[in-house]
């Protein structure tokens, strides 16, 4: 028996390693810092994330595989890596004052976010089902804890327990799917799965994989956990989950189905099209009925998962680049919207009901204008990022013969305008609510909001560079 040394090209996973090391440093730093110094750990994690971003940019056009084809550096992965890192940076900027006000300012909080980011980055570079599964768990396990992080709050604990039970349940299905794919093809490598002959067992395996992915990105009928978890979890964590998990899980979802299972596309495209219609419709209609803004944004995130699924159904280069652009636009917009909700909180109290937003336009005109921009972008109004994203996705669908799906998507966007504009109407038309003072916005929160705002407007007005980067392509 001969032993060969596998190709340990650490450069390919440099972003993952940098985030993992900074997570460990922050975790150790927790031991030696006093409670007044916890802020420093947040700054340390920001440095780690930015360094990982630098390393990821160095991988642009690298087109390499490493670790016996377990991981792959292609422009698709780098684009999503940068999207996830941008989401994590904004989330940590929002966290500094939020964690202090809610008395959860600890090193573990930042370390767990970094561990989760490690899993996400690994997930979008994985070229093997084993790595995708391990990355999915590495991404999820810290989030179960983070959802329950506010331990004295029963809602937060409930969110953590529900997320855990349903998450573990769905990962068992995902794992069963991987086992069947492995049995049907004799390999877990995505490219080699594509090369083997389709069989019934492969089809069943693909169906079970779909259940696992559908749960993580919250597609109907696997979305039941989303509103409860998003409502109960600390708002910064909700913001982080709603964007970064989606980007990572959709990355692996697109890669697994487009690289490994194109031979079965006839079968899964129809199923995914039906799921997309159900997801968009249920997400938007249920969001109409919500009074709590976190629950409303939870259903809105379900609807957005439906829009992105249209891009996967459309397939081809246009579909992939539309999905990538949409994920970036959605990350910035949704973090901005949650950021505005966080900025409007007072101490431990948060403005959770739409009616709490009454009269804010007079007390905080700038913040009200920002929240309006983010809501308009989520609804898909030009000239903001959300409009270009929807335009690209519906365009890709029409181009590839799924015009009816694009029509359903457009009708759904129309419905969504109503609930996105409800807080806006309250801010500009209603009288201020008793018991709320004028909100004071902390400088770091303001920085995060301004960065998100610049991104949303820049992507909306000058989308061409980002579209060109998103078209970088999926390595096979």
């Amino acid at each position: 028996m001969s032993l060969s040394v596998p190709d340990l090209n650490l450069r390919i996973i440099a972003p993952v390693l940098i985030v993992a090391i900074s997570a460990l440093v922050v975790l150790l730093g927790e031991l030696v810092t006093s409670s007044a110094q916890k802020r420093g750990l947040g700054y340390a994690s920001l440095v780690g994330l930015l360094a990982a971003g630098g390393a990821a940019m160095g991988l642009w056009d690298a087109h390499a595989v490493a670790f016996r084809e377990m991981v792959r550096a292609d422009n698709f992965g780098v684009f999503l890596t940068l999207t996830i890192l941008a989401g994590a940076v904004l989330c940590i900027l929002l966290s500094f004052d939020f964690t202090r006000a809610h008395r959860i300012e600890t090193g573990e909080y930042y370390a767990l976010i970094l561990f989760s980011v490690t899993g996400m980055l690994l997930m979008v570079t994985a070229a093997d089902l084993i790595i995708i599964f391990l990355a999915l768990e590495l991404l999820s396990l810290p989030l179960y804890i983070l959802a329950a992080f506010k331990r004295e709050d029963e809602r937060s604990l409930e969110a953590g327990l529900k997320y855990f039970l349903l998450g573990a349940f769905s990962s068992a299905f995902f794992l069963y799917g991987i086992a069947l794919v492995y049995g049907a093809t004799g390999t877990t490598n995505l490219a080699r799965i594509a090369a083997s002959a389709p069989s019934e067992m492969l089809l069943i395996g693909a169906g079970l994989l779909l259940v696992g992915f559908a749960f993580k990105v919250a597609l109907v009928p696997f979305h039941w956990w989303t509103p409860d978890v998003y409502e109960g979890a600390p708002t910064t964590i909700t913001a982080f989950m709603s964007v970064a998990v989606k980007a990572a899980a959709f990355g692996a979802f697109l890669r697994a189905f487009l690289v490994a299972l194109p031979a079965l596309a006839m079968d899964w495209r129809v199923v995914l099209a039906i799921i997309a219609v159900l997801t968009m419709t249920l997400g938007n209609v249920a969001a109409l009925l919500q009074a709590n803004i976190k629950r409303m944004l939870a259903y809105s995130s379900i609807a957005h998962a439906g829009y992105i699924l249209i891009a996967l159904v459309a397939m081809g280069g246009a579909g992939v680049s539309a999905a990538l652009f949409y994920l970036l636009a959605y990350t910035l917009t949704n973090l901005g919207a949650f950021g505005a909700v966080i900025a409007l909180g007072e101490g431990e109290r948060e403005r959770l009901n739409v009616s709490d937003y009454g009269g804010l336009a007079r007390m905080q005109p700038l913040l009200a204008a920002m929240l309006t921009v983010f809501m308009l972008s989520l609804a898909g109004f030009p000239p903001f990022a959300g409009f270009v994203g929807k335009f690209l996705i519906f365009g890709a669908a029409v181009q590839n013969g799924w015009a009816w799906l694009a029509v359903v998507g457009v009708l759904n966007s129309l419905v969504s305008v109503y609930f996105y504009l409800r807080p806006v109407v309250a801010m500009y038309m209603s009288e201020p609510v008793e018991g709320w003072g004028a909100p004071r916005v902390a400088p770091l929160v303001a920085l995060a909001l301004v960065l998100a705002l610049i991104g949303v407007i820049a992507l909306g007005v000058f989308p061409a560079p980002a579209i060109a980067l998103a078209a970088g392509g999926l390595g096979r």
């Binding site: 179960y144 409930e158 492995y182 049995g183 109960g232």
Partner: protein, 106 residues
């Protein structure tokens, strides 16, 4: 040698027992046990597939075996988090019955 379908049937049966446990039980710990059973059913599948694929595959290809080891490790990590969550819930609510943990409903 026992034919492959026997192993697959055993694994499918175990998976379904775990699935039933996870869906039918009300106690959070019992649900966790059901999920663990589902994961272990998949391990049987992985090892059985590996054993039957092996003659045609290169000798270094241990994917099925190694994956099963990863799954065992992961199940342990998952149990640690689940028990921590259950203890935290029990301290604040005095119950581990998932039907009584229902502050949020749509």
């Amino acid at each position: 040698m026992i034919p492959l379908p026997f192993y697959l049937l055993l694994a499918a049966a175990l998976f379904c027992i775990g699935l039933f446990g996870a869906l039918a039980r009300r106690n959070a710990i019992a649900i966790l046990m059901g999920i663990e059973l589902m994961l272990n059913a998949v391990n049987i599948n992985l090892i059985a597939f590996w054993r039957y694929i092996q003659p045609a595959a290169p000798t270094w290809d241990l994917a099925g075996q190694i994956f099963a080891l990863f799954v065992i490790t992961l199940a342990a990590a998952e149990a640690a988090i689940a028990l921590a969550l259950v203890i935290a819930i029990y301290r604040s609510r005095d119950t581990v019955n998932v039907e009584e943990v229902d502050l949020m409903k749509w």
